[in-house]
Symmetry: C2
Subunit: 168 residues, 2 copies
Amino acid sequence: MNTDERFMAIALDEARSAAALGEVPIGAVLVCDGEVIARAHNLRESAADPTAHAELIAVREAAVRLGRWRLSGCILYVTLEPCPMCAGALVNARIDRLVYGAPDPKAGAVGTLMDLSADARLNHRYEVTSGVLEEECAGLLTQFFRELRAARAAGSAPGPDEGQEETG
Amino acid sequence: MNTDERFMAIALDEARSAAALGEVPIGAVLVCDGEVIARAHNLRESAADPTAHAELIAVREAAVRLGRWRLSGCILYVTLEPCPMCAGALVNARIDRLVYGAPDPKAGAVGTLMDLSADARLNHRYEVTSGVLEEECAGLLTQFFRELRAARAAGSAPGPDEGQEETG
């Protein structure tokens, strides 16, 4: 495993923690100077908070820990391509680099539907690497929604809605 | 004053609270069924948190208060046009409507640089009304940055950076 894969493996562990709570399995890790500063997973249902995406929680925790809102020198690893909210938060945080696993055809805002990482009109741009451990990242989501469908077919329907809710 | 102006006046009070802390004066109010559920102001510097925009704080507080992440039936009032992060958070929250005061030529994501409120590829759209108490909303920002420049010229330089930091 190279460095990016090692950190993405931690993000995958976070995604599994989300699944264990019945949350859509998305995980994130924020790294500064080679050190993990924050790790987080999607908590939208548990926290009843529409902003509780893995990336946003990791950014907030890292800022608190570092005592500064500018996360220059930092890299965010996340299993799924960020949505507009999270991609915009990385602009606001002046992050150096984003590494993501699987693309998000429904809400991906860093290359798929739009690219907020490279909009010259905004006051910051960040480097992007995609496709790191993509199969594992996408596989966790596929498995989660397959099990959700099966549970629903069996008459129990806990957890988030399908389809439109697969957003990171 | 009509209903929108009455709620925007509360958002303006919040913006003044931000200015009193040395924060860029942006305020927000979240209204559900005609009742104020949350009010907030920009706290980026005080909280050292790049996500602590008025809108995002109001959305989170409203969700906690209502015990649900879906803010359907709710309207957000904010003095400055939201940035991509905040405009995306309103999509994620499934908000009904956004009302803002002044446009933001530097980062406005609800009509100026882009329009995340009406992107048919995303899983939610919301109604937008702009220009409500626009002069007062813009005037607070102009005055704040004028005073900041004067303080800097006098040799004291507290508060946020100018220019690229005028983002809501």
